[in-house]
């Protein structure tokens, strides 16, 4: 996974949850005013019904026997049902919202009012029945609050449950993911996926398992093929070498014949080198060099240096040994010797006449830099097998691949840079 993509990606669980959350909040927001109006309407209907009931009561129990003289008495004791003597009497029952001044609370309060035309002793009167809406508003708000609380509670519960279930449901997926992330072809064993109850995950695991097993077997076959091929080549190479050695003893060889033989020897040496390198790579793969010991790198370099000085002399290359610190590593001695000799041989091989090579070793890294061609080498191809950068030399394109492989084995990093006309190879420890 690239680091650029990583910033944008989100966890699957969070994405689902975000969807749920958005939907719930939206529903809540839309439903709130709707619920408010609905509840208000229901409640108003209720009040109106109550007002009509009171009208019916009045008409049934009081009106038949009501006297004009009783009106002032009635109005005195009834706050919400009054008889009014007015000229503006509607023809039928009518409902209104009206505000009245409350003597007790000393404020204007909203009321629902029912006007009913009645006749008392043949005289028309207006029956006013009213109901205070203040308490009802409170009630509505209380109900709405309760409703909102419930919804919120439901939402939270939903969130929690989703999280819990999703985590539990997706757990096999995350396990599988982690196992594939740690899997490395040729280095770690095939992952063993746990059985899950979810069909899709079980399918995923089966498919992955097959894929990985197939890859491993192909990888194995390829490795064995290289190893067998290299191994089988050794006998014909040995025969070829012996034949040349015998041929060289023939009396009266001409100069041309001798020169032809000489180039055959050179070719044979290249073939041998290639074969040995292939064998070496597969040996590293097969972990033949598993014995570790504490190695003082400085000593390994110093032991080899005279050999390389001799080789460098032929191109008149100067070998500069900078400060070598007492760095110890735990590794296989053979491999470390190969690592260092390959680095140095590379520096000689790709150098020009009268060039320079400098070596320095600190606790953090080993740096070998050399003069050579004037342009930087393509760093991405450099460490691949058979990636020949410089076709003029006799390198077989395996030297750097071997360096990389050995470094990988111990978790070190090999880096290449081109600075101040110098090709710099670094082995960074840890």
């Amino acid at each position: 996974m690239g680091s650029i993509n990583q910033a944008k990606t989100q966890k699957l669980l969070n994405q689902t949850l975000r969807g749920y959350l958005l939907f719930s909040v939206l529903i809540l927001l839309i439903s709130m005013p709707f619920a408010y109006f609905l509840m208000q309407k229901l409640h108003l209907d209720d009040i109106d019904e109550a007002l009509f009931l009171r009208k019916k009561e009045f008409q049934a129990y009081h009106l038949p026997t009501f006297r004009l003289s009783e009106i002032s008495q009635w109005n005195k004791y009834n706050r919400d049902t009054k008889l009014i003597d007015t000229l503006k009497i509607p023809q039928k029952d009518s409902l209104f919202f009206q505000s009245f001044y409350d003597e007790l609370d000393k404020e204007v309060e909203p009321y629902r009012v029912l006007f009913v035309p009645v006749e008392i002793e043949k005289k028309p009167f207006l029956l006013l029945i009213k109901h205070n809406l203040i308490e009802n508003e409170d009630l509505i708000f209380n109900i709405l609050g309760l409703y909102a609380g419930l919804l919120l509670f439901l939402l939270l519960g939903l969130l929690g449950l989703t999280q819990y279930f999703s985590k539990r449901l997706w757990q096999p997926f995350y396990q599988t993911l982690q196992q594939i992330e740690t899997f490395e072809l040729g280095k770690t064993a095939a992952p063993n996926f746990e059985q899950t109850q979810t069909e899709e995950f079980e399918r995923l695991n089966t498919v992955l398992q097959n894929l990985i097993e197939k890859s491993i077997s192909i990888f194995q076959n390829q490795k064995e093929f290289i190893e067998n091929a290299a191994h089988e080549l050794q006998t014909p190479l040995a025969v070829l070498q012996a034949k040349l050695d015998v041929f060289l003893q023939m009396p009266d060889l001409s100069q041309t014949q001798m020169q032809a033989l000489d180039s055959l020897y050179d070719l044979l040496a290249r073939l041998n080198r290639l074969n040995k390198n292939l064998l070496l790579l597969s040996k590293i793969d097969k972990q033949i060099f598993h014995t570790l010991e504490n190695i003082k790198l400085k000593e390994v370099i110093e032991n080899q240096i005279s050999f390389f000085e001799e080789q460098a002399l032929q191109k008149n290359i100067t070998l500069i040994i900078n400060n070598l610190e007492n760095k110890w590593v735990q590794a296989n001695l053979t491999l470390i010797e190969i690592l260092i000799s390959n680095l140095l041989l590379n520096a000689i091989r790709h150098n020009h006449e009268n060039g320079k090579i400098s070596i320095s070793l600190s606790h953090q890294k080993l740096i070998i830099s050399n003069t050579g061609q004037a342009n930087a080498l393509p760093a991405n191809k450099l460490f691949q097998r058979f990636a020949k950068i410089d076709t003029s030399t006799q390198g077989n394109g395996l030297g750097l691949a071997i360096i990389k492989k050995i470094a990988d084995l111990y978790g070190w990093e090999v880096a290449y840079t081109f600075e101040n006309e110098l090709h710099v190879f670094e082995v960074v420890f840890e």
Binding site: Q255, L279, I288
Partner: protein
């Protein structure tokens, strides 16, 4: 000097015996376990060259069988197997040397001579060639009774050339002898020339004959 070569690859066996055979060396050949064992039982050899991979047996078994006879021959394993384990196993079972295929025949001859020197002249390791005297143990060289000062590489080179006297040696075989496994990694073997030149000069300065011949600039020969 009698050698037994146990090797199943006919071409290689033929070339090895052809190269090793000379006035004083006689090389016999067995291409399987059975014949090899028969020969070892019947005759005494100075040195046995043993290929580890034979069609009818594991080479290590032959090694054990030879060692059971309690004879005093030197044993050199010649094998395509190049692992530290098989090397150590071979040496632990009593082999004296281990040479990995492919090798130069001249290198094989030098190894055979080294082993025979070790086995036969216990205490006396002086090799004489005309006016040149080489103490292989003390690693000193005298020309006309006078010590001459040689580097380790020049000493090895001298011994190698004399061991392969009258045979043409290729530059690559000399390079391999001088730098061991490293020679495989080298692009060119021209560094051999510098050593040859120095050795030649030192021998001539001390009054030795001019035995080292350059063959058309590509090979070298110690001419006796």
């Amino acid at each position: 000097m009698k050698l037994l070569l146990i090797e199943d690859e006919n071409h290689l066996a033929k070339d090895i015996s052809h190269y090793l055979n000379s006035k004083d060396v006689h090389c016999e050949w067995a291409n399987n376990f059975e014949i090899a064992l028969e020969k070892i039982n019947a005759y005494d050899y100075d040195c046995v060259l043993l290929d580890l991979t034979l069609p009818d047996s594991n080479g290590m078994d032959i090694l054990k069988a030879i060692k059971k006879q309690q004879k005093n021959e030197g044993i050199i394993i010649i094998s395509a197997k190049d692992t530290l384990e098989s090397r150590l196993e071979g040496l632990a079972l009593g082999a004296d040397d281990y040479l990995t295929k492919p090798f130069h025949l001249s290198e094989l001859l030098a190894r055979v001579q080294a082993i025979i020197r070790r086995k036969q002249f216990s205490g006396n390791n002086v090799l004489v060639f005309n006016e040149i005297e080489i103490d292989t143990f003390a690693k000193t060289v005298k020309v006309n009774q006078e010590n001459i000062d040689l580097t380790k590489k020049e000493f090895d080179l001298l011994l190698y050339l004399i061991g392969n006297k009258n045979r043409v040696l290729s530059k690559s075989s000399l390079a391999e002898h001088l730098s061991g496994d490293m020679a495989d990694m080298l692009d060119n073997h021209d560094f051999v020339y510098a050593h040859i030149k120095n050795l030649k000069r030192k021998l001539q300065n001390a009054g030795a004959g001019d035995y080292i011949k350059t063959i058309y600039g590509t090979g070298y020969k110690w001419e006796a």
